[in-house]
Structure formats: C-alpha cells, structure tokens
Subunit: 114 residues, 4 copies
C-alpha cells in the first residue's frame, strides 16, 4: 500500500460521511495527539522488556491504535496539501546530515531532535 493510496482511502471514507467541515488542520492536530496518547496508554506500566513482548490480544489492540494514528496523520497531511512521501524524503536528508553515522553510532539520540 502506498501513501498515495492511503490518502485516497481516507479521503473517500471522510467525504462519504461529509466530515470535512470538522476537519480543520487544528482539529486534526488535536486528534493526532489524542490518538498518540491512546497508543501510549497501552505501555504505561510495562517494563521495557514487557513492552517488547506483548501478548497477542494487546498487540492487536495496539495495532488498531497505530492504524488510527496513520489515518489521522494521512488526513492532516492531505488537508494541508503536504505530500507525506516527499516530506519524509526531505526530512531523511536532514536527518542524515544531522546524525552522521560515525558520530551518532550507539548513542541514545532523541528522535525529537531529528
């Protein structure tokens, strides 16, 4: 599945339901944070090891939450006319410059600094 196909699927789903008026970028950005927190909630009290070995039912519940994040992310990009694939490629160029392999190797760098 391509990012472009994703965009069409989400757009069709939303437009059939006439939800576009509610989908201001501001509202979608809020939704993205709410969905990310629903992912986070599944990991709250787990040890790092437990988080890497989820039982099947919990893993499926998390998979559904990840799908929600992907849906909202795709929709927000669409509403902003942002091409997610291009934005990703652009960012990776910046990331490679910012974190050269020799310098970054084995260090707990913050993705938030990417």
């Amino acid at each position: 599945m391509t990012l472009e196909e994703l965009r069409s699927l989400v757009r069709d789903f939303v437009e059939e339901r006439e939800w576009t008026p509610f989908h201001t970028p501001k509202n979608l950005a809020m939704t993205l944070s709410v969905e990310a927190a629903e992912v986070l909630e599944h990991f709250l009290w787990l040890t790092p090891e437990e988080s890497a070995a989820l039982p099947a039912d919990k893993r499926e519940a998390v998979a559904h939450e990840l799908a929600d994040v992907l849906l909202v992310l795709t929709r927000l990009a669409d509403r902003l006319d942002v091409d997610l694939a291009q934005a990703f490629r652009d960012k990776m160029v910046l990331n490679r410059a910012k974190y050269p392999v020799e310098k970054a190797r084995g260090k707990a760098l913050k993705y938030t600094e990417l």
Copy 2:
C-alpha cells in the same frame, strides 16, 4: 512510496546508527506522543481558518513534524511486528461498520471513537 519501503528506509537508518537497543516499544510510544505534540504546538493559537491557510514557511515546518510522526510510527510498528497496511485495512473494516454512511453523515464524530 509504500509502507513497506518506508519500513526499510527507517530500519536502515536506525541500524546503521545502532539505535535499536534504545528502541523499546515503550520508548517509541513515548516518542510518538512527543512528536504529535510538536505538530500540535504549531496550531496552538490559530483560529480554525488560520490553521487551514498556513504561510509557506510554517507549512514546511509542520510537514517536517509530520514526517517525524510517520518515521516514529513506522519504527514502532516494525518493532512490534505489526504490518501497518494490514492494521489499517482491518481498522477500516471496523470503521465502516461503526460509522455507516447514513448514520454518520455530517456529524462531528470523534476519530478517537474510530
């Protein structure tokens, strides 16, 4: 770009830098929330209308944050052995059942309920 290609690109980037030991699902779930909040921050004091008409420089800054969310989301799914494309398809089946067009049309349904 497919979700599968994305996964490979992110995995190569991370493995070259030997960051996998830090990438427990728990840590990545935290990072996802932090990245979503960085998107949100751009929309804090905007009116809904302003949020739909960002100036070019701000739009590009948001695009980079969206790329970060996509990167972390892709990585988290990879670490959990979740196939994002399949998870998305599964969730859309649930969404279509939960929000039938006739019932959902024009109502501000919560994505968080999807």
Copy 3:
C-alpha cells in the same frame, strides 16, 4: 487546599495501595501526558465558543480529568523531590522577565515559550 496538603493526600493514597514501585518518574511522566490527552479529547470538535460554554455534565467530566492531571502532577513532583510551589514561583520570575507587560500585551504568546 495547599500544594503541600495535596502532596500528602496523594502520597497517603498511593502508599496505602503500595503503588510506589510502579511510580518511577518516567512512568508518571507518561501518565501525565495520557491524562492531559483525556482532557483534550473533550474539546476535540468544539468551536472555541462551545468550549467556553460546556453543558453541566461535560463540565463535570472535564473537572474530573483536571483532578487527575493535578493528582499525577503532584505525585511526579513528589517523586522528584520538586517543591511545586517553589518551582511555580521561580518560573513566574522568569515569565515576568520574558514577557514584560508592555511588550506582551494583547499578543497571542505561546505558553510553551513561557
């Protein structure tokens, strides 16, 4: 109610239940984000005007979520040996220097820059 009384009430509640081993600052910081998102969720699709005129039942539900944020915030500060009242006073000194009345008046400054 003082911040010091709050701290004691939360601590007693937690210690009676022997939850302290789970309350690493990392876990509590995660919980704080999850609780903040539960507040946010109530405001997702509201207009600014609607958000300022909540019906009574929704207002009470939000009040309970705000109490959760206060509880977790208090607990996290306690676990870090941070005196919240002192931290607040210190931060307000910085805020007053950063946002002089003459310069900041009527401008949509970001709290995130406070």
Copy 4:
C-alpha cells in the same frame, strides 16, 4: 501556597498582558497537552532508574516544565469555573471507592482508570 492563591497569581499575570481572548478552554486544553509532552521529553531515553536520579540541572529543567503544567492547569480550571480543590476532593472519593485498599494493593493500576 493554596490552589486559590495560584489561581489569583495566574489570573493577574494573564490579565495584565490581556491574553484572555486567546485563552479559550479549547486552546488551553491544547496547551496542557503540549506542556505535558515537554515534561515527557525529558524522560524519553532514560531507564526507570535514571529517571529517579536526575542530575541537578535536568531536575531543575523538569521542575520548570512542571510549573508550566501547573500554570496552564490552573488557568484552564479558572476559565471553566472549576474549583480544582473541590474537583480533587470529589475525584478522591471516587478513587477510594474504585480502588479499595485490599483489592488494589501492589497492583500496577492505571491512573488513567482512576
């Protein structure tokens, strides 16, 4: 410092700067999530043990972020006419009923379920 004093201090700070028009509950709820994520960011790559033994400079940086959360929480409650002390007391009654000591002891209960 009481919660009532906090409310007055925050209100005076905001009104001097004429920021009230920007402080819709919706905008403040967004700010609360952004501030909570700034706390979270400090803990991203730490082990649970490291998170409980922050170096002094990092501990002070976190204290400032906690003060921001307290400030925004106080302001949001004020704008909603919610008495935080009363909301806290009400919630603790519910918490005590929901998590009886005998049943809850030593179990990693989710604060999000409180």
